[in-house]
């Protein structure tokens, strides 16, 4: 069964991708979408069996892969609780995104290719989450990277999309460098790359040291930090996050599937999968906590200033991933996975909702040109509302709440309960929750409330012209005539294929928390659910439930403050944001320009790489090696000017050939006579 779940998407991708011209557009879409729904239908029973406590961990061998001395790894499919959680997340979101793309990509001429890439991605992601050894995990890891590269650059005629695709791949490779060295080190220390074997032996390695770059360092710290660099790349953590916002160049369904729900959470999954290793490396855990908290804060601050609807959600994703990491860092892996689980639903929902808005607004993505869309696209509005309620964590402690309420509060409580650095992470997380609430409601208010501001949008202007068949000459009159900010444009609700996924994901955003929070984070039920597939600290989870009442109410309070601030600035008095910006110019510029990371990296890495490359080429190869090497030798024998003449005449070429024949002859002669 697990073979079908994993390989159906691959099969569909191959058929649709390679056979598109034979089988045509619609069959390609049916095959890929059908395969994903089949995978999804097969995955849920597995997950529910683990929820019910009847599921058994298993490893299904597929094919021999590599055996080199002690280094052996095979193609295997591992299913345990942790995998089962990822299976439903990946297949559900992927199936819905496939369906959604029927509507969203309806006018694209290249649909089979798009669907093939989506299915290929799903296959790679499934290989990642079912990996039983580090190398297969790396296979999935790179496979999703490839699919991400292809999908970000799907509209390959756009230079910005191509640049974003390369950036995503190369920045991820920086992380992969760490991942690979981590695997090498792990193999050296443990003599195996099999995950269960490593996890069994990991506690015994505490206190040992290993040589690394001339230093002698704590073994587990080195290995975990190297592996974590890989996780930072894939999950866009601070320092290696720069590719994620740019990845929004890809079609919106891609952003929902890859850059929100699944691929970017692979880093979190990896840390949870290897949690017994990280538990043996307290220093590494401290770094994970710190990086997670820093990312959480950084991305939230940037998210408050962006105008592009997809970029706001992208920074929000980055920030939520930070939450997951600091949950893992304080030892609450169950809470990290829980947030991963709920986040997949509500973040995919937000992205698909944004896609629906973009679809309705004729590809306009700038929220400054939105407004008052509530009445025009009501279903999208309510879906986005469900997503926003979930991400901001609306709920009453002890009663009920939306999905994010359970998972985010679980993280914050665990962080507080863990003490030490966790308390700092708690306060950072609380502040970020305030910002989360602010930017999320800001997005809703700017998009759906207030008055229409569509007339300044070039996209809308184009749409209006096309609709009315007007020439360019009279467009100035045209939208001035309306005067209500709509430019005469009428947004339409999306087709059914796009609305169904929104409805399904809304259900997830509403109920995923309340239905499953016992299994994921409650002490006894959690231990029974996870069954050792990740390190589950029952004491910590107990302590998390017994934090003071003010801690439990804190997230809700800051959510309310954020909501109020957003309402105050974007509904009550819309001139406030401009005033704020004028007051704090430098701060705003710093945040709006994303802390200047791109500019910094450009100066530090990109420009020097090209400059050094040119230097090595011109001054090294041509200016030094060739000059004193072959050219110099020739000059020595022939004299500079005569060489040039001879090279031109082809004289040297014949001359050299004779020499060569002579050499072989000489060699033979020498051997025959001397030996």
């Amino acid at each position: 069964m697990i073979q079908a779940i994993v390989f159906l998407p691959l099969l569909a991708a191959l058929v649709a991708g390679l056979g598109q011209r034979v089988i045509g557009n619609v069959p390609s879409k049916i095959i890929t979408t059908g395969a994903l729904f089949a995978s999804c239908a097969l995955s849920w029973p597995i997950f529910l069996s683990f929820v019910a406590g009847t599921g058994e961990a298993s490893v299904t061998p597929v094919l021999h892969w590599v055996q080199s001395g002690a280094l052996q790894f095979n193609w295997e499919l591992r299913v345990d609780t942790l995998t089962a959680v990822m299976l439903v997340v990946v297949t559900t979101v992927s199936a819905l995104v496939h369906l959604y793309s029927w509507g969203y990509m309806a006018e694209d001429p290249d649909q089979p290719r798009f669907f093939a890439y989506l299915s290929l991605f799903t296959f790679a992601m499934l290989m990642l989450v079912t990996a039983n050894n580090l190398v297969q995990m790396f296979f999935g890891w790179e496979g999703v990277g490839l699919a991400s590269y292809l999908l970000i650059g799907f509209w390959y005629k756009k230079p910005s999309a191509n640049a974003a695709a390369i950036k995503a791949f190369v920045v991820n490779r920086v992380g992969d460098l760490g991942f690979m060295l981590g695997i090498f080190g792990t193999f050296l220390v443990f003599g195996t790359v099999s995950i269960p074997a490593i996890l069994d032996a990991a506690p015994g390695m505490a206190g040992t040291t290993i040589g690394f770059l001339g230093m002698r360092l704590d073994t587990m710290t080195v290995l975990c930090l190297l592996l974590f660099i890989g996780a930072m790349g894939k999950s866009a953590q601070l320092g290696l996050h720069t590719w994620l916002p740019d990845a929004m160049e890809g079609p919106t369904p891609v952003s929902a599937l890859i850059h929100a729900a699944t691929m970017v959470t692979a880093g979190v999954f990896m840390v949870c999968r290897l949690s017994p290793m990280f538990e043996a490396a307290p220093v590494a855990l401290g770094v994970v906590t710190f990086v997670g908290a820093a990312t959480c804060l950084f991305a939230a601050t940037v998210g408050t200033t962006q105008w592009d609807i997809k970029r706001v959600i992208a920074y929000s994703t980055c920030s939520q991933l930070g939450y997951m990491f600091f949950a893992a860092g304080v030892g609450a892996y169950g809470a990290a996975m829980f947030h991963l689980f709920t986040h997949a639903f509500f973040k995919a929902l937000l992205f698909l909702g944004a896609g629906s808005v973009i679809h309705a607004m004729h590809h306009e993505q700038d929220m400054r040109y939105y407004g008052a869309l509530r009445k025009h696209i009501p279903l999208t509005y309510w879906a986005m509302m469900a997503g926003t309620l979930a991400i901001t964590g609306v709920g009453i402690a002890g009663v009920a709440g939306f999905a994010g309420f359970y998972s985010k509060d679980g993280i914050l409580e665990a962080a507080f309960a863990s003490g030490g650095g966790g308390v700092i992470a708690f306060w950072v997380g609380i502040f970020a929750a305030l910002l989360t609430s602010f930017y999320s409601w800001r997005l809703v208010f700017l998009t759906f409330h207030g008055k229409p501001r569509w007339e300044q949008s070039e996209h809308i202007q184009h749409a209006v012209h096309d609709d009315h068949g007007h020439g360019h000459d009279d467009h100035a009159h045209h939208h001035q005539a309306h005067g209500d900010g709509t430019a005469g444009y009428h947004p339409h609700e999306s087709p059914l294929s796009m609305l169904i996924p929104l409805v399904v994901l809304s259900l997830g955003a509403v109920f995923a928390g309340i239905l499953f929070h016992h299994q994921f984070i409650y002490p006894e039920e959690g231990a029974a659910f996870w069954k050792g597939s990740l390190f589950f600290d029952e004491h910590l989870m107990h302590a998390a439930h017994e934090v003071p009442l003010w801690v439990k109410w804190m997230p809700f309070t800051v959510m309310a403050i954020g909501l109020f601030l957003a309402w105050n600035s974007y509904i009550r008095d819309t001139s406030l944001p401009a005033k704020f910006v004028a007051q704090f110019k430098l701060l705003h510029r710093f945040l709006y320009n994303k802390w200047y990371f791109d500019e910094l990296y450009d100066i530090l890495f990109v420009k020097p790489a090209f400059a050094i490359g040119r230097f090595f080429w011109k001054r090294g190869d041509e200016g030094t090696i060739d000059r004193f090497g072959p050219d110099g030798a020739a000059a020595l024998v022939e004299g500079g000017t005569r060489l040039a003449v001879r090279l031109q005449s082809g004289y040297v070429y014949g001359y050299a050939f004779v020499m060569l024949l002579g050499l072989v002859g000489l060699a033979s002669w020498a051997m025959v006579n001397f030996l």
Partner: protein, 512 residues
Amino acid sequence: MSGLPILSLMLAIPMVAAILCLFLEARPARQVALAATLLDFALAVLMWTQFDIGGAQWQFVERADLFGRFQWALGVDGVAMMLVVLSAFLMPLCILASWESVKERVGLYMAMFLIMEVIMIGVFVAQDLLLFYIFFEGVLIPMYLIIGIWGGANRRYAAYKFFLYTLLGSVLMLLAMIAMIREAGTTEIPVLLNYDFPPEMQTWLWLAFFASMAVKMPMWPVHTWLPDAHVQAPTAGSMILAGVLLKMGSYGFLRFMMPMFPDASAQFMWLIFGLSMVAVIYTSLVALVQSDMKKLIAYSSVAHMAIVTAGLYAFNQQGIEGALIVMLSHGVVSAALFFCVGVIYDRLHTREIDRYGGLAVNMPAYALFFLLFTMASIGLPGTSGFVGEFLSLAGLYEASSWAALACTTGIILGAAYMLYLYRRVVFGELTKDDVKAMPDLNPREWAIFVPLAAVTLWMGVYPESFLAPMRGDVTTVVARLAPTKPAGDAQLAAARPKAAATGDAHHAGGVQ
């Protein structure tokens, strides 16, 4: 393996065909060449299936005394056999690749390629030192002529440079070989492999061989002949140069320098690591700024070959097996990449990257193959490139974490220059009229791409077919090197007495 003298036959068939081609018109010459190379490939596959894994080290052995000390001694171990298979596999594809693009002196051209096949196979199957030397240096002649006669505008300079570099090393190696034969009293390679040369002698023998092998590899800083040779060579010439000729250097390392001079090899490990580290970073950065497609791929070859040398000198099973897979993988992938260049060069007659763009629109099949080989070149798991790189770097890490770190940066830089190339050629808007007019792959080009792609994926998903025949040979070399092998810098140590027992147990498991 009694009866059929399969190795002699594999040498004889292309030789006879070569002579025949000299007297034939263009059309029949092509057909004869294709038939001969296909027949040779069939024999190579037969040999592969007949090879007894775990059996004798040397198989398909043939021996006949010639004049003086010359012997016609042939035989293969697993490593040599796989390289013979690689050569025989690429040859028919090279003939097909030149089917339409070579129009002048076709008979001579085909003859040169067939002679090249004889010599390449000869290098790998020779069991006699002198015979090896003749083949090893003889390969210069056909390659030199292919570049010199059918090459691009600046072919003479390239041919001259190619010649000068390789000449330098070969003289020194010849002297070293004479000394070896006098010392050991035999020319038989299998005997020499187990002969213990005095350590002081090893040092200079190693250096003399190194001079020759480093050029053939090519290693930094004696690599500058390669970009010029590639740029000027015709497509098939580049394919065979990158595909097989570059493997002769690393074959030399593995066949001669490591097992015959183990003390010197250990002594010069730092030199190999140092040059490899420099090469990976240096040539990758140079590749990044190239505007000529062939130059870019040529520089990337130097970087890949540096992974091979580093992997070999890790002195462990993973490092060496990885290096061998990189050799095979690079043989297939770089040949494919040069053919990718050839396909569009045949249509537009320029190698300038900026002249292209937007090929994904009018050449989707081409774009797909190019993508596959690009990904294989940057070591995406699932392709052959990954298995080789991963194993060799894993082995390297055990020997030196510094070298592993420097060489692993190749995965970042490699991705940068290859994707940047791919973007400029395949992606973007299709604007130029002459580029728009380029048709997608024809059946002949499909016939070349499909086998290359199939092998790339096969080696990536199930490399056991390729690793199994070579495993025993690598174990032998590793055992030969074990006494002199220095300890790596990344060794595990127990800090507390309590953890010592566990630590050592695992330590022992982790090291060969």
